[in-house]
Subunit: 426 residues, 2 copies
């Protein structure tokens, strides 16, 4: 039995993959947990591109945070508020709802998009990190086909049917593949004045090849699959300008009504409010046990943290790393409260997956490489498994089965959002 | 075989209940149909209140118009554009995408909210006619509980936990009942600093009783059910002021963060652009065959039309009337093109239903009255039956079953919309 009169208070900022796992790792621990997130829901980010391309609805991949944590008694409050800064000396987290003192702090606020210094590109090229992003992209994509259907101007129609995705990592590849699938399958028979297969989709990547985190053989397969759904992949291509009518890429201008950004991320800004060591992207340097060297009661996990792996390279900003780090941070806090030493982070790379279009994927699982339909089945299974909430799993499984056999997409709605760009879409 | 060289062109404005039924009644008719709607989707309006109260997702109750009409060959184009005006002499519909000439015109643009001359109330008291309305209401309702959870100000907390619904017709009753259900069941265990059952919900109705279209005995039952979920019903109560902090009703001020409007509708504005007879709410007077007396090739159906029934009272603006009128308008156009006389509208009142909270409803079906759980089962069955699209039926049936047995709601997400009211919700 603990002899102290007050249980330690653990404040967790961010209820994404890292934050949630940290909270869950503290289940039944003798602590009081306060959760802070600017949104009321946890989003399963790997499937955001499916909301963006109208396959799934927001509620299929998101769940209210307080609902997820309902059964955990030591979660004392879930506060929907924005974290503003940390005072590590006074041990206070400052938020929009006031100051929150902590004994232990877990920072898991993730990443946001980086436009490489060109923030003026942001309104023209939305990224895909949140549900709002996904709904805005969906609106733009579906609206482009609708406007193309009704316009009389041939040049404008071409521009409306041109889509650009910037960034050849998994997000960009999945977005581009889904756009290809929409134009070649889903909408194929539904328009009268246009043929959706006229859509031209470009994927621009500055590096010599796409998917740098995958072996080259799998990246080549992915390129083939992208071509099969009408995506033109252009590597060694830098985008130097983005405006409201298109982009300049590789010194050529492309008139495109829809430009999507999947090219750069930076850490969320909270690290900058603290007197701690950051890397160039704003990530906080952590020790092997995920705490900050100068403030060992602050743990950082996920995209906000930077830690070198055994190969000397920093761990990538992927869901798996965030989940495993979150779990360790929670476990380490539990150990500390029991007077035990914390443990170092050892990453178990369970593999890498990316899906392209309707039923193709690439999978690199501990050296075992798979491409095509089989990889896609693996992808399906894993994503359903990791979705939070049994109801969501059933719903998504059902939705996917339906969409697959009907060549349809279940969420093809244009509803207005705060980014309203044209007056017709209200 | 027709000897004319060109098939008559039928332009249908609005793909709601009335418009869609008109189009479907023309299946295989020797006409060319152009469909115009400002949105890309058809919404099942009777279930909008469930999107507004986070039970269902938008995609559960809406379907892209071109998807619904996919199998109908004589639908030549679906144009997502706003209808601006009609020139009945030149037989041209003017839209945002240019002029569209017609041989026959079906106007089915429905109704919008009327604030009895106080349009300045609109930002404070959203109505519930479209998916965007529903998402905005959802955002406000869920945010109110979240803000109440994090505020330190007792007075503000009371205001945040006070909800006002203005208008005691079916929409107001269903919204109020759903708010009661949310506070007493769905969110009951999920907050730590507040108890959602502290929520006070007021339903204000200017007439001596709620639900004027139902028999008094059923309206009394509905009031009982509302009370059981914590709704205070105040009849003979006029709302005289609405602002950003609350309302004045019956000469008393109520501080409320969430005010919802279900009290008045007026016809959409297109009638005013034409030289035709309108009633005070902007509805277009039609003949028994649903055409305009002075322009017999223009048909008007649904909430935009006004036609007296056999009892001398105009048909109500309900879904059934719109559907039956739409079907007749389509059939009458078919008859005209075949040189046959049009038929008069005969309304078949299949009954009246309203649901209150979790598992109670009232039903008035051709004089057979039912209240309680049995009525609710009838309500369930009928709404699933009338949902468009087998997939949506399955989805909604599943969602309802899940929510019922788990006391949960499937779409409790706060995602931002164009009405952003507070800066924390981005």
């Amino acid at each position: 039995m603990s002899t102290s009169t007050r249980q330690p208070r653990v404040v967790v900022v961010g209820a994404g993959f890292g934050g949630l796992r940290a909270i869950q790792a503290l289940k039944n621990a003798p602590v009081q947990i306060i959760v802070v997130d600017r949104r009321n829901h946890h989003t399963f980010q790997p499937l955001l591109y499916q909301v963006a391309t109208a396959s799934l609805s927001p509620a299929d991949i998101a769940k209210p945070i307080r609902s997820i944590l309902r059964g955990q008694d030591n979660v004392r409050a879930v506060l929907m508020t924005e974290a503003l800064s940390v005072d590590p000396t006074e041990q206070i987290l400052h938020t929009d709802a006031g100051p929150i003192p902590y004994d232990y702090l877990v920072l898991a606020t993730g990443a946001r998009h980086s436009y490489f210094g060109r923030d003026d590109w942001e309104p023209y090229a939305p990224g895909l990190k949140t549900l709002e992003d996904a709904l805005e992209i969906r609106r733009r994509v579906l609206s482009a086909f609708e406007e193309a259907e009704r316009t009389e101007d041939d040049t404008e129609r071409d521009r409306l049917l041109t889509f650009v995705v910037i960034g050849g990592g998994p997000t960009g590849v999945e977005l581009a593949g889904a756009l290809g699938e929409i134009s070649r399958y889903t909408l194929a028979r539904e328009f009268d004045r246009i043929d959706p297969t006229w859509a031209r989709i470009f994927l621009f990547e500055a590096a010599p090849r796409i998917l740098p985190s995958f072996p080259e053989s799998l990246a080549r397969k992915a390129t083939t699959y992208l071509n099969q759904v009408g995506v033109q992949v252009r590597t060694d291509t830098f985008v130097t300008e983005v405006d409201d009518a298109g982009v300049v890429a590789g010194d050529r201008r492309f008139e495109a009504a829809t430009v999507l950004w999947a090219a750069g991320v930076a850490a969320s800004g909270i690290g900058k409010t603290m007197d701690v060591e950051l890397d160039r992207a704003g990530r906080i340097l952590v020790q092997p046990d995920l705490s900050i060297a100068t403030y060992p009661n602050i743990f950082v996990v996920g995209d906000l943290a930077v830690l070198d792996g055994p190969d000397g390279k920093p761990y990538p900003g992927v869901a798996q790393v965030a989940m495993q780090q979150g779990r360790l941070a929670g476990a380490n806090i539990r150990r500390r409260t029991a007077g035990q030493p914390a443990q170092a982070f050892h990453y178990q790379d369970k593999g890498n997956l990316a899906t392209i279009g309707r039923n193709r994927a690439i999978a690199d699982i501990r050296g075992f490489r798979l491409a095509g339909f089989g990889a896609w089945l693996v992808w399906l299974w894993i994503h359903i498994f990791f979705l939070i909430g049994f109801q969501n799993r059933l719903r998504v499984a059902f939705q996917w089965a339906w969409s697959y056999f009907r060549f349809d997409r279940g969420a093809r709605l244009i509803t207005s959002t705060g980014y309203d760009r044209t007056k017709e879409i209200v």
